[in-house]
Symmetry: C2
Subunit: 376 residues, 2 copies
Amino acid sequence: MYKLHNIDGKAKRGELHTVHGVIQTPVFMNVGTAAAIKGAVSTEDLKQVKCQVELSNTYHLHVRPGDGVIRKLGGLHKFMVWDKPILTDSGGFQVFSLTSLRKIKEEGVYFSSHIDGKKIFMGPEESMQIQSNLASTIAMAFDECPPYPATREYMKDSVDRTTRWLVRCKDELNRLNGLDDTINKNQLLFGINQGGTYEDMRIEHAKVISELDLPGYAIGGLAVGESHHEMYRILEAVVPHLPQNKPTYLMGVGTPQNILEAVERGVDFFDCVYPTRNGRHGHVYTNHGKMNMLNAKFELDDRPIEEGCGCPACTTYSRAYIRHLLKAKEMLGMRLCVLHNLYFYNSMMEEIREAIENNRYSDYKAEKLERYNNGN
Amino acid sequence: MYKLHNIDGKAKRGELHTVHGVIQTPVFMNVGTAAAIKGAVSTEDLKQVKCQVELSNTYHLHVRPGDGVIRKLGGLHKFMVWDKPILTDSGGFQVFSLTSLRKIKEEGVYFSSHIDGKKIFMGPEESMQIQSNLASTIAMAFDECPPYPATREYMKDSVDRTTRWLVRCKDELNRLNGLDDTINKNQLLFGINQGGTYEDMRIEHAKVISELDLPGYAIGGLAVGESHHEMYRILEAVVPHLPQNKPTYLMGVGTPQNILEAVERGVDFFDCVYPTRNGRHGHVYTNHGKMNMLNAKFELDDRPIEEGCGCPACTTYSRAYIRHLLKAKEMLGMRLCVLHNLYFYNSMMEEIREAIENNRYSDYKAEKLERYNNGN
């Protein structure tokens, strides 16, 4: 199901076969929280920016429109009209970051909806049931996302519970995949490694969950406030203890630099809201660094955001026009910046894949960062 | 320059030749106030919804980004990347509806910008200069838009001034079109008929401005608060006194029914914010009447907004998905509704043209309204 094409240093060039097509890795998954990429981007647009995998949020779709509604409509692929792979997160991260009045128990989490305050319970079984209703390609295990920083004692309890929850997730998804009326009977489950910035706990947990022989493993609980240096240190410690012959997913990361560093440490799945969120604020990525398209210096600039870029914004519109749209609060300005940013990220992943194939990842990374950080 | 293909009753089927291509009439011009259609619609999208003419607002572009900026960037066509005809209004309507502290003098209007309060003067010459900088295909004359209702006395003074201003507009645009560095030396000027709901004043004014032999004539100052019945009465009175062998443009109108009635009375150019504004609120037009896409009854409805519709929304997405997007405040929901509405309007104009060609406009109109108003 997962094939490794090449390894360059620790960097992995692989592919994951799914019922919704093959994912070439390293891959950046494009975040469409509520079954749509923010910024008026349609799934038609997504194809044009080279998106391989769309990522939607289980918690958001559970509260609106409801996973039952999406199931009745044939699942998420049919609902949002996207026939390539979709990954759904477990809902855990949002339960811990968005909701109020949480109570964590062995059976799961009791909390109040951020939309209407409604009391909701979500545990491993519920998360799997919701994701099975959504019928995504890849379901993520339901875990606890501990706060940062957390004491060793808190972290130990939390990681142990996350391990017990993972076993329940696996059992429940197996059961659901075996039911006659399940939409996607081949739904894959990725486990999630936790342990905060405690290397020993990370490694111990990685070993335990690896034994469950799941189709993929993620590293969660990073990019939550710790320094980049700490994040890289944890990756160096834990990635060697996760199966190399399976996808390795660093959740919620990150900047172009973060991705380049994590690929070098053996990660090959990523997702992050940066390209979409920054795009909506007029902040765009280029090979020469980030630009704020609201800057007055672009007033008369008839060049594209980035010369030579093949995205729908750059092949047609000028910096001057995009700046005007953003100043005038025309939604088209946001859309064009989001499209450019997603194209930039997805294209960088293409370059990364090619560099690993040619055993020149280290050189590629150095050149890319030199240009990106120094604008030359 | 304007050719009449057929006349069916009073309904005109014509075409206007411009340097930016031929406009088939009756035509609905798609409103892109600040050089963009609201709702994240790109000029690429505009082609897909059969837009023939884009309309931008002179006042808005004058205050932001500034017509000088657009001129330096090669004019509005190059700025927004649209190679088909563009009509710019004169700025008059916005000066009278958006700004504060207005003083109307013989030379023009003194007012404060609605954005930063900056003092601005605009008279006939200034309006022509701005529109020449924008380099639109069709420039509109600078007129006074009198309030509704207005006394006969006020209206008489206002209409007389509008006539004097029209002469100045014509002279100034002739001068500008003759300058070496003018971007569009073939810019056309349409005059505007005023007179409120006073038939005699409307007719008298129509006769006077017709003698100026301009490339087209608009009827302004309607759809400003009077009843539909009054509007149709005025059209019946005044249209016969405007040149039949020139475009006849009813400004800012309107609903599908308004357009169908006005075409029957000899109008062949229209513009209105309804399809875009309503779309952004989730209100869509169909052949069976309007629908509010936020309605709970669409929760599980997997049909398109309108069966058989060829717009980018209906060929791909379901009512259930669009409703979800609108509920979740995802901009894509607005964009899809706007695209559908523009396609609906532009397609209706196609049907209108075909009906007039086949001398069955009256039957067509009756059938269309029967379906639209009674939902059958």
